[in-house]
């Protein structure tokens, strides 16, 4: 009896070691590139050309890499500002447009309702990479070429299928009685939507926001094509200049610093709002 229990205990221990062994191994593979790059970004100029072995600074913490990054384009603050404006603008507009549309699709009947909903969702099928040339020309006609607002509007449109779908489901889940009660109290239309319903669909709004933010902050291809002047570059486009280097020499310190500047906000937002992010992912997967 005791022997059997001992064998079982030993097997459990072995399982646990194997489990955490694999877990730590996987965690190392997925974390190490971030860790190495963050640590290396604090090395002084004298070390930044050397391989990151070890990755941490040997002769004291230094912000040389970030200073070097700042010397590209119109300065790192300008480009961070551009990226932030585009991302936050995309979030605000996406939320506004998709809350209205989600409410409309959930609560009203109107002609061609299903066809219009399918049309919005169907844009997912078409890769936006294939319509960039006309977008470029249409934006130029609207006087929005090489403008952050133009880029923002394109990003909002790309977010719509997912966001409208999410918000319609969010409104569908709100019990009708709440709306009735508010209506009896005299709240109507937009006031009803903003005062009564908006707090109830906040989780949906959080999900829509985090996806809009991350996608706008990270998007590279459309920004590369649609932005043409240095001042307007978002961070990923600025980084192509850093990556190309000057006179054939690449300042790898500046690359590491740029990666840190682009990556840290994403990780921060994700870890803060992980629950809502995963909800969105699951909703998309189940769909």
């Amino acid at each position: 009896m005791r022997i059997r229990r001992e064998i079982r205990a030993r097997k459990a221990l072995r399982d646990r070691i194997a489990y955490h062994g694999i877990g730590i191994g996987a965690a190392f593979f997925f974390l190490a590139p971030f860790a190495v790059s963050f640590l290396a970004s604090f090395r002084p100029n004298s070390e930044s050309g050397r391989p990151p072995l070890p990755p941490w600074p040997l002769s004291g913490l230094s912000f040389d890499a970030y200073r070097a990054l700042d010397s590209f384009g119109s300065g790192i603050w300008q480009h961070m500002f551009n990226s932030l404006v585009v991302s936050i603008g995309t979030v605000v507009l996406t939320v506004a447009v998709s809350v209205l549309a989600g409410y409309g699709f959930s609560r009203y009947r109107f002609p061609f309702k299903n066809a219009l909903f399918v049309l919005i969702i169907a844009t997912l099928m078409i890769p936006f990479q294939s319509i960039l040339t006309p977008l470029f020309i249409i934006l130029a006609r609207l006087g929005l070429n090489n403008s952050l607002l133009g880029l923002m509007l394109v990003y909002v449109t790309l977010q719509l299928p997912f966001s409208v779908f999410m918000m319609r489901n969010a409104f569908d889940a709100v019990p009708k009685e709440i709306e009735e009660a508010a209506r009896i109290d005299g709240a109507r239309d937009l006031r009803l939507l903003v005062r009564v319903l908006l707090p109830l669909v906040m989780p949906g709004i959080a999900t829509v926001s985090i996806f809009a933010f991350l996608n706008a902050w990270n998007e590279f291809f459309a920004a590369l094509v649609l932005l043409s002047s240095n001042d307007n570059y978002t961070l990923p486009v600025l980084m192509t200049a850093v990556r190309a280097g000057r006179l054939g020499a690449i300042n790898w310190g500046a690359v590491e610093a740029g990666v840190a500047v682009m990556v840290v906000p994403c990780l921060f937002v994700f870890l803060l709002l992980q629950r809502y992010y995963m909800r969105g992912l699951m909703a998309g997967a189940v769909k």
Binding site: A26, P33, F34, S37, L53, G104, T157, K176, P236
Partner: protein, 305 residues
């Protein structure tokens, strides 16, 4: 999902009086954006593809000649071939890593959500950021891999990973797996968790071994989820651009020009906007075909018990 759609139909029938045009006002902004920035550009792409369309000067109607040109364009076929090759290899690699990971994080165990989160972290950063990070890691002089492999005695001297097609391709595959595997893992995880535990328990009691349970129970019940993960991986890979542009600039001897990269070169480097539009329509048709196949695959999965 089921319950929400059920309740919404009953709700809708109760809401019949709220009909008419007011709903259209609410969806108008969304429809406006989709029309101006999606529907119009698609139609415009079609229109442009029938023209010789230089950056400056008048476009000239040339009918289907952009399309016939496509069929004799060896570089386009190279791009198609490379993209297909990349899509195949990267999809296999992602599944080979993501499936074991999904099985690994499925059961509720100590620290499992921490492991899950860590594996997922690279998914939320941009592909451009990931490419930049890895192009540094793969740099021969200042990066990590070449000196590390040299130090460990795996290679004789430092090798330039990005200088040869095979090693550069490998590096990009590993980077993309690092970036995407967590996403595929979560998708597969939703499928795994949807399998009723009674079924696995019953199979276990009937004496089915671990592999048998996986082969005859888990895999068949995962068909739908796997089809979804597969399609997401395939469509994403076909549109690959960032990694080739940032990491290898099209690669050694221009061997890493993907379809989107080729369209970018034609449209925005050579400014053959008409031809670029025709190529875009070809890409669009490929993707729409895949989406239709996707819907069909998912439906086939539905009909099975």
């Amino acid at each position: 999902m089921m319950t929400s759609s059920l309740t919404s139909t009953t709700r809708r029938s109760r809401l019949k009086r709220k009909s008419g045009w007011r709903g259209l006002v609410y969806i108008a902004p969304a429809m406006g954006l989709v029309t101006i920035f999606f529907v119009l550009p698609v139609l415009f792409t079609l229109w442009m593809s029938l023209h010789k369309w230089p950056l400056l000067g008048e476009p000239a109607w040339i009918g289907l000649r952009n399309y016939t040109r496509m069929f004799t364009d060896a570089r386009f076929f190279n791009a198609l071939g490379f993209t297909a090759h990349y899509t195949l290899i990267v999809t296999i690699a992602i599944f080979a890593v993501a499936f074991p990971l999904a099985l690994f994080v499925e059961k509720q165990r100590p620290l499992v959500s921490l492991y899950r989160t860590i594996v997922f972290l690279p998914v939320v950063v941009g592909l451009a950021s990931a490419s930049l990070l890895w192009v540094w890691l793969a740099n021969v002089d200042s990066g990590l891999f070449a000196p590390l492999f040299d130090m460990l005695g795996l290679t004789a001297g430092r090798i330039n990973l990005l200088a040869k097609f095979d090693t550069a391709f490998m590096t990009i595959i590993v980077m993309v797996v690092w970036k995407i595997a967590g996403f595929t893992m979560i998708i597969l995880l939703t499928g795994l968790q949807a399998i009723p535990t009674e079924l696995t328990e019953a199979a276990r009691i009937d004496g089915a071994g671990g592999w048998q349970r996986f082969r005859h129970l888990t895999l068949p019940l995962m068909r739908r989820t796997m089809a979804l993960a597969l399609i997401l991986s395939v469509t994403g890979s076909i549109l690959a651009f960032d990694q080739f542009y940032i990491m290898t600039s099209g690669g050694p001897q221009n061997k890493m020009i993907s379809v989107v990269y080729y369209i970018f070169n034609q449209s925005f480097v050579s400014f053959n906007l008409g031809y670029g539009a025709a190529l875009s329509i070809a890409l669009l048709l490929i993707l729409v075909t895949l989406s239709v196949v996707q819907l069909w695959l998912l439906k086939v999965g539905d009909e099975r018990p």
